[in-house]
Symmetry: none
Subunit: 201 residues, 4 copies
Amino acid sequence: MPERGVATRAKLIAATQDVVREIGYAHATTRAIAEAAGVAEGTIYRHFPDKVALYFAAALDQDGALIAEVASLPKQAGEGTVVGNLTTALQRLATLRERIIPLEMAMRSDPELIERRRTMTPPLPSDGPSPPEAIAQYLGAEQNLGRIRRDVNCLDAALILLATLFGIGIGLMPNDTADMTDRNNLLIRSAVELFLHGLEP
Amino acid sequence: MPERGVATRAKLIAATQDVVREIGYAHATTRAIAEAAGVAEGTIYRHFPDKVALYFAAALDQDGALIAEVASLPKQAGEGTVVGNLTTALQRLATLRERIIPLEMAMRSDPELIERRRTMTPPLPSDGPSPPEAIAQYLGAEQNLGRIRRDVNCLDAALILLATLFGIGIGLMPNDTADMTDRNNLLIRSAVELFLHGLEP
Amino acid sequence: MPERGVATRAKLIAATQDVVREIGYAHATTRAIAEAAGVAEGTIYRHFPDKVALYFAAALDQDGALIAEVASLPKQAGEGTVVGNLTTALQRLATLRERIIPLEMAMRSDPELIERRRTMTPPLPSDGPSPPEAIAQYLGAEQNLGRIRRDVNCLDAALILLATLFGIGIGLMPNDTADMTDRNNLLIRSAVELFLHGLEP
Amino acid sequence: MPERGVATRAKLIAATQDVVREIGYAHATTRAIAEAAGVAEGTIYRHFPDKVALYFAAALDQDGALIAEVASLPKQAGEGTVVGNLTTALQRLATLRERIIPLEMAMRSDPELIERRRTMTPPLPSDGPSPPEAIAQYLGAEQNLGRIRRDVNCLDAALILLATLFGIGIGLMPNDTADMTDRNNLLIRSAVELFLHGLEP
DNA sequence: GATGAATGAGGATTCATTCAT
DNA sequence: GATGAATGAATCCTCATTCAT
């Protein structure tokens, strides 16, 4: 049975994700977040010491889900096709991160958040590989199976794949497309195919 | 020789780029910008109708330089290697955009700026292809020369390359490296090589 | 043997005195007081209608003890020395009031408390003389015994003695002394001696 | 010719003294002070870094006048009567401090202000003796002239006199008298006479 | 009696913008 | 053109108080 305030905390995290996505990090005020969560402004401070702590909770909210998602990737080495495995994994990551992309951007561009993250006690000992690690492990396993070129640095390749995913997620491209999710999933597949087959004939 | 006001305008734009990079878009106040520019706060409003206009001027400041930079790319088709041509071009873009990456992020994630950009009169009739267009043209030319696979959508490939560049520029990767520029240039080269040769054996 | 609620009430009063002394009247929040008392914030309102009532209870808490302390003073007229009798009485008052000096200051300088006190029903029919009255009575008795000059207004003298005591208690003097209580007791004795013997040769 | 904001600064200091006296230190909000000064709330922060700095400026506002007032006291040794000299000096001090007594109390009872004062850079090298020093010097000079007993510690006596003045100023006595200033001046004279002649016959 | 989550008015402070100089 | 004092709405946060448990 959930204690009295667990639901409120969850509402605040969801509201933060929604508000930052809808009106932007710079305009996501405590007032707007409280209103979206359907609680009083003061209630925020019963659950989080300050606004930045709420941002962090909202941004890291799905870290567990992300890690769980990619944890199984290395085991898939040898099954199906490399393109298929990576495309599926990246598309799932993209879906999971859709809500928090603006928060991730803020955490990477706002020096206040960067510093805070640096000095923050890590939330959990993270019982699984992070996305870049998991992808690098998967690529390494495929390398051993001969399905990936031997002269490739797997960690760099994983980072580059994720950088591409991030760039696509931000909507680097002219974003007047109606269904952004579909468009992005197509681009992710194209990107993976390009990465695998190469541009050269 | 620039008149008095022109120099002030340039100082404000440079100060905006510096301040946004150093303390973040959300914390870049008019006071901080004016101080960095060495002018009084009120002076901002002699050159720009409001703060958002200053952001735009700062963010689009180097659009001309970017366009000039990539304009020559299509003409290089057939010369040197594809990897070399793209690597050089992307590294130059990265260098030019280093100052304004945080502003670009803000312009893509802050709905206020997105809307403002939508309703803004385009600054110049854009006397050249934009970076994605130029890269797509280059890839198309190489395709005609047989140096790029025929079954590749050149515009998508260009967008994916730029998304990767953007993701790298944001510092998606653990950014504890001292010389970020060198690290990024290496990653850009790796990314281009991956894109060209593919991961598959 | 006190019931459950009586002990809680006492804890709240003691906590209020402690907290006001430690962090100041202006910063003594209900949260801090409840925490110091080891009870929940809501519990305060089970014992007092509001925070001001708690302040009053804490400030007047030792009025009974003060009155009891000075009640015996007039009877001492003629015994020992005047200096000794007054010094002992004032030092005892100082000790008793040590805990509540900041609350007394607040009750004399915060118009909200002053007004509230004015309209408050007097807590007890005051079964004894107040400190100024008791001291004045004592001085009058000594006057009759010829140990105090006849041309002295005893009530004024008592008020002045207490004003001095209050000024000393506030720590008017440079308060870097380690043991403030000892220093104050010495000053009280010096003050009484000055008052009695006079500065003139 | 006073610069643009000197008058505003003075208005803010006067308003702070008035508001703290009228509604108490704990209720003297920036809003109330700004309103009393006839300026916008934000204007406070153009002249003072924060509210505490404004309190300090208001509390120390008349330190120069106080020091100037007592500076001449030691030179009066031997002139007139000791009672007259001290009474006049103390009554003048009382008048000068009337506006700031509540602020002085706050500065002595609020740990935040005490700490701030401790770490504050002294406003001026204070080109004169402080009130306790000046009074002690005066008493010492009279001692040399034989008008004060030799076995008296002049600094302690000065501190005790000022403690009495402070206690009287706070209104330790039942403060329902209409004209508090007159009543206080009478008490000050009585206190000085008591101090000089002593209570003993 | 006791709790502590929730409240929302109010607090200090910031900030984009204006305007007299 | 340039200044910087003034503005006041808006921001983050606090706090006395209430109430369902």
